[in-house]
Symmetry: none
Subunit: 194 residues, 4 copies
DNA sequence: TATGAATGAGTGTTCATTCAT
DNA sequence: TATGAATGAACACTCATTCAT
């Protein structure tokens, strides 16, 4: 009897060590040898499960994206129904400890750069970008006009990414100040101007 | 004695084709062969002028950074003396056509990722980050308390980077909406709240 | 699982073609390409088994040294127990056909030169030198005073190397006259002076 | 008026730094760049005066050989007319401080190895070998039969080279014990056996 | 299902050589 | 006479991929 779920275990394990390897040496230096050695498997296993290196990287990206959206979904469910709370939930999820750590952040950065030249990755990025935008837009729309909501959503999305990026680059992301800055932005957008 | 002054010409030329190559195939696929072929020179010229590939990439990054700060300096000089105008000038420079184009943007993205694992590049990034922050901070300070100015500066810096990043990823940066969003942020920060 | 035991076969094969290549073109011109081509393998195999080129060369040197000491051990066992016979056995082994042939001699010469600037090789040389000296010294000591034995051992060791060197340089080593000269030296050292 | 003897000065200077460079990094790592840089000249100067790198190396070898024979000639002239003194003079010259030092010894070693595969160098070696042999042979012949003289000359030549080689490899040549060993050999050869 | 030996194209880098000045 | 910028072939080495087991 073949081990049940062996496949899933392997997939998860390999994606995990891929993240760790990218964290430690960077995507450019992450060779199949270094990844599989850390997983204590042979290099051949990658082509077996993922076809080739790109397949592994794409699966890793999908994994990271799914984790982000699971976190967002979780936070949104737990949030109060008002727009402000919903928006805050999205921000909160983005600065979760699950999202703000070495392996995930460095992988994001690497994939941002990589996606400029690989169609598959770019596609995944676009889906993610649009999804976040429409999510934010929908919530802002409940209190703002459509154009205003779109502007607010664009701004907030950019602010989240920017705070995220600067946190990653600084090496020591401030997990308190960053979401605070985004919350403030939400408040400013929602609050009626004089 | 061979041609004098060739040095500067060569340096500029090689940095230029490096940017173009990164634009077209990405940093990962930008080999010395592809760069020098585009420059119609030999590969040996790189070690002659830059020591090695890393030297070329570092020089390229320095070039991009210098260009950004020249643009900022130029805009600031032309701006009115009031804080809002100065801040707008910084934003404007960041969304200059010189900064918002394929070669420069893709290079920035690539170096953001690369700088996570190369000390030299990280150092350059940090200098740039701090410089932008203190620039913004100084201007906000003229109308806000110190803590408020710091928060505003952090937020605006993140927003600029975020808008920039999303523009790069989308492939078609909106050079009108992006600065507008940053201008609005400035206004919100400077305007007295109820 | 791929063929088992290939490792030892490959190692021996690669060391062998390394000797042949050094024989034909010299150490300076012995590139990995020329070596592996002769072995009908790929260049990558060297890094696979020896790490890098230096690893291959070091392994080759170790192989040559081991062969020499195996020959010496063999001859000594077959020799009569008296010092003169033992000393002759050492000389004999050094001028064995296994030691006196193009590949081995040219490799020795090359490594002598190379060992001046590579710590690993120098270490191997020193071990070999000391080993030969103490071997000779022990045998001379059975018939001479300690200081005399040391002088005799030094002289014989130098004579062996010298005969060996001149044989290599001449291109046509005289495998009869050379050991004869060393035998005479042994006799002169052991024979009581007037 | 062109500088007189500029040519000779350059030649000597370049040969000198070649020896120093081989001493410090070895023949394999002695590039034209490293040699000419030490001489504070351009690389082009080599092709100007020596044609190419091989020309420089050959000239260096000739220089070393000439120095050796000048030393031998000097010592022989100063020696008493008897064979033993003449033979001792040759030995003495070989262990002169001019011959026993890093640059010269490492260069000799390197050229021994190199001469196995370069016709020009091998030719120079052969001339040197034959010259030393006939020199020794002529002196031994005055007291020994022709065959005995030939054997003695071969042995002494080998002993000299061997002592020399072992001195070079050990890194700290014993400039007293080495010639002493050769003197003893001369005495043994010349002294009438019982 | 899993291995890892073997490949070989591709990489950055070195360096002797050339040549316009 | 002398320079050093420029070349480009050659090099050691890397690494994704393949495949017999």
């Amino acid at each position: 009897m073949p081990k049940l779920g062996m496949r899933e275990v392997r997939l998860a394990q390999l994606i995990d060590v891929t993240l760790l390897t990218i964290d430690q040496v960077g995507l450019g230096a992450a060779t199949l040898a270094s990844v599989t050695q850390r997983a204590s498997t042979s290099t051949g296993i990658v082509s077996h499960y993922f076809g080739d290196k790109d397949g592994l990287l794409e699966a890793t990206m999908r994994h990271v994206l799914r984790d982000l959206w699971l976190a967002i979904a979780r936070r949104r469910k737990a949030a109060k129904p008002d727009p402000r709370s919903k928006l805050r939930a999205v921000v909160m999820a983005n600065f979760d400890v699950e999202q703000v750590n070495g392996p995930v952040m460095k992988t994001w950065l690497a994939f941002w750069s990589e996606s400029m030249h690989k169609a598959e990755l770019r596609c995944l990025q676009h889906v993610n970008t649009r999804r976040l935008f429409s999510n934010l837009c929908a919530n802002f729309s409940r209190e703002l006009t459509k154009p205003a909501a779109r502007r607010a959503a664009s701004g907030l999305a950019a602010l989240i990414d920017g705070l995220w990026l600067r946190g990653a680059l600084s090496g020591e992301p401030d997990t308190k100040a960053a979401p605070k800055s985004a919350y403030d932005y939400i408040d400013l957008m929602l609050e009626p101007r004089a």
